[in-house]
Amino acid sequence: MGKVKALVVDDSKIMRSAVKRALDQLMLADFEYVEAMDGQDALDKFNDEIQIMFVDWNMPNMTGVEFSRAVRDKGDTDHIPIIMVTAEKSMGKVDKALNEGGANEYITKPFTADKMHKTISRYFDDDGNIIGEESEEEEEKSFFSSILKS
């Protein structure tokens, strides 16, 4: 099973544990976790080894949406799935997280392992490797390589 480095961002230790426990139960991959207690801490810990992120919204110092936006603004991070895991559930908030924040998915708390599975399983292949969304640069590369091959 592939090793996947996941960044879990929540100011609640209990919720970080709940996310990790749910992911371990799903056995979609062999996860290695990096934990952060707010958006700023997450930004400090973010590096190019991170393959998927589970991000709370309402946190001190820097919110989850601000963090997601900051990561997307770094460029070449579109292939890293950002899953918002939050108590905010109004449609306006969902829209803000997905559009302004650049998140890929939205899960409301409290969540079940089943709900988590339905939301994130499409990001993993059968061998437990992550399938990220291709960045524009990668899309361009694969477009040209397909032309060359044909």
């Binding site: 100011d11 609640s12 230790k13 209990i14 919720m15 544990s17 709940a18 426990r21 309402n58 946190m59 001190p60 939050t86 108590a87 905010e88 559930k89 109004s90 306006g92 908030k93 409301t108 708390k109 409290p110």
Partner: protein, 165 residues
């Protein structure tokens, strides 16, 4: 719709109370797996040995403060359901848990009261633990106390509506 000025308003609008009640029932049902019952006689225990989660949903005009009052025994049972194991009442994790429950409730309340024109956002939660606590609700802003009983025990949700400053 809540009037901008709360001068002369002595009670929280019944539609807000109803929506908060609905949110409490939905939130606790999603956490513990079955709906808690609302108890009409909402008299609060004279002194509390337990933990209180505080959070607010606010906008520029109004602040709806929520206080989730959880007796020790209920808190311990809730931790068992939420975490899968009982966590010590005196631990930081217990405060963390009650803060998170407050956060989840406030998220549901915020989404629910949007339907009556109160578009707000949640504050960060805080939790207070203690024994022999007496809760005083201010008399000036309109307040409401609601009692619930569920499989994890009894708890109260108090709320106050005030003008944002």
């Amino acid at each position: 719709m809540i009037p901008k000025s709360l001068n002369g308003i002595n009670e929280i609008p019944t539609e807000i109370i109803g929506l908060v009640k609905e949110s409490v029932i939905n939130t606790f049902a999603s956490i513990i797996g079955s709906e808690p019952s609302y108890i009409e006689q909402n008299g609060q225990a004279k002194s509390l040995n337990g933990i209180i989660g505080n959070i607010a949903v606010f906008n520029q005009q109004h602040t709806l403060s929520l206080m989730i009052v959880i007796p020790r025994e209920t808190a311990l049972k809730l931790s068992e359901v939420f975490i899968g194991a009982e966590i010590p009442f005196e631990s930081d994790d217990m405060g963390d848990l009650v803060g998170e429950i407050s956060n989840i409730l406030a998220g549901d309340v915020a989404a629910n009261i949007e339907t009556v024109g109160f578009r707000g956002q949640s504050s960060l939660p805080t939790a207070t633990r203690g024994s022999d606590l007496t809760l005083f609700m201010p008399s000036k802003p309109p307040t409401e106390k609601m009692k619930f009983v569920g499989p994890s025990g009894e708890f109260w949700v108090n709320m106050a509506l005030s003008e944002s400053r």
